[in-house]
């Protein structure tokens, strides 16, 4: 602790006081210091995963515009983004690429209240519920998931889609 204080050109006394002030400030915001570390790690992972952080409402509105004007091109752009993200895990050195993908996907969709991804015996099930998703955004996000699953070697078996809700099942592609 002394070493860290000195690195920051602070006395131990001053350093500790700053730490406590930070903790109490965080407490007033309803968060704790571990959430700071989580946020930092999340941002780093998102940056490395090729994501941009912005306002949800803006993304929805832009997606609506793109979907209305050029639906197929928009779907392809999301599909390709899904492929790209999944390939990052498939070609990386992670022990379990799918688990790593699943974890990051959950982290990056912090605005989605319900996202369950389960993998069992050559089958993947995805269930997503997000009442704020627009219809266009739902279909674009579905396309993103399809791209990712395809890159992991799965073929979509069945899907049920409605605004803000995606339920899909994919099976391992034997070809």
């Amino acid at each position: 602790m002394n070493k860290v204080a000195k690195q920051g050109d602070l006395s131990l006394y001053k350093f500790l006081n700053e730490v406590f002030e930070l903790t109490l400030r965080a407490n007033k915001l309803g968060v704790n210091l571990s959430s700071l570390i989580d946020s930092r790690e999340l941002l780093k992972a998102a940056m490395e995963g090729g994501f941009t952080l912005g306002l949800e409402s803006l993304w929805y509105e832009m997606a609506e515009l793109a979907y209305a004007k050029a639906k197929n091109k928009a779907l392809k752009s999301w599909f390709d983004a899904g492929v790209w993200l999944a390939k990052r895990y498939v070609t990386g050195e992670t022990d379990d690429p799918f688990e790593a993908f699943k974890k990051d996907l959950k982290d990056f969709t912090w605005n989605v209240p319900e996202l369950d991804v389960t993998k069992k015996a050559g089958k993947v099930s995805v269930r997503l519920v997000s009442p704020r998703f627009t219809e266009a955004y739902t279909f674009l996000f579905l396309s993103f998931l399809e791209g990712a699953l395809e890159a992991f070697g799965y073929k979509i078996g069945s899907k049920e889609i409605s605004r803000g809700m995606i339920c899909l099942e994919a099976v391992r592609d034997q070809h």
Binding site: R25, T52, E61, A66, A81
Partner: protein, 190 residues
Amino acid sequence: MSSKKGKRLVYVPSDIVEEAKMVSRGRGESLSLFVSEVLRMALRANSLGYSPGTAAEFLEIMQAQRNLGGAFVPADVLTYLNSKACEAEVEQLETKWYESGKWHGKYLNEKFEDPVQAFKKFLEATRWDLSEVEVRQNQNTVKFRCISTLLTGKATELLAKFIEGAMHSIGYQTDKSDTLKGMILLDFKR
């Protein structure tokens, strides 16, 4: 400061101790456990490159971002959405970005004592496609300079609209605007 049996005594102002006692009590922890946990976290935050001061700022910005409805979107998708390929009208896109900036600025204005600095920190923390965010603030003027080697020309223009929207909500007017691919130069006055 004294040392005894591997433990050290460090003086902390009594008001902070009282508040820390209240927080630890609220969590059902002893003060000693709470203090040890806080210090452990502080060392972890330090290893991520955060001093207590910068950590507090980052924390507030991230919390504001969550409250505002922040969401991640694949960068390639954003590039597509910003481009002509998606066939959306340029003016429509500009309006969306401007309105979104206005909303953001309004929130920052309500929430932060210095909304201009908070906005700068927000851009630094969340727009990692920007390699430089410089804000020079005088009594009645603010100069923004953002540099990126990754942004396309259109994405630069749209981000500039977002910044203008935010600054207008904070109470500034655009005095001068100059954007070119990867560079935003904006002057505002009260």
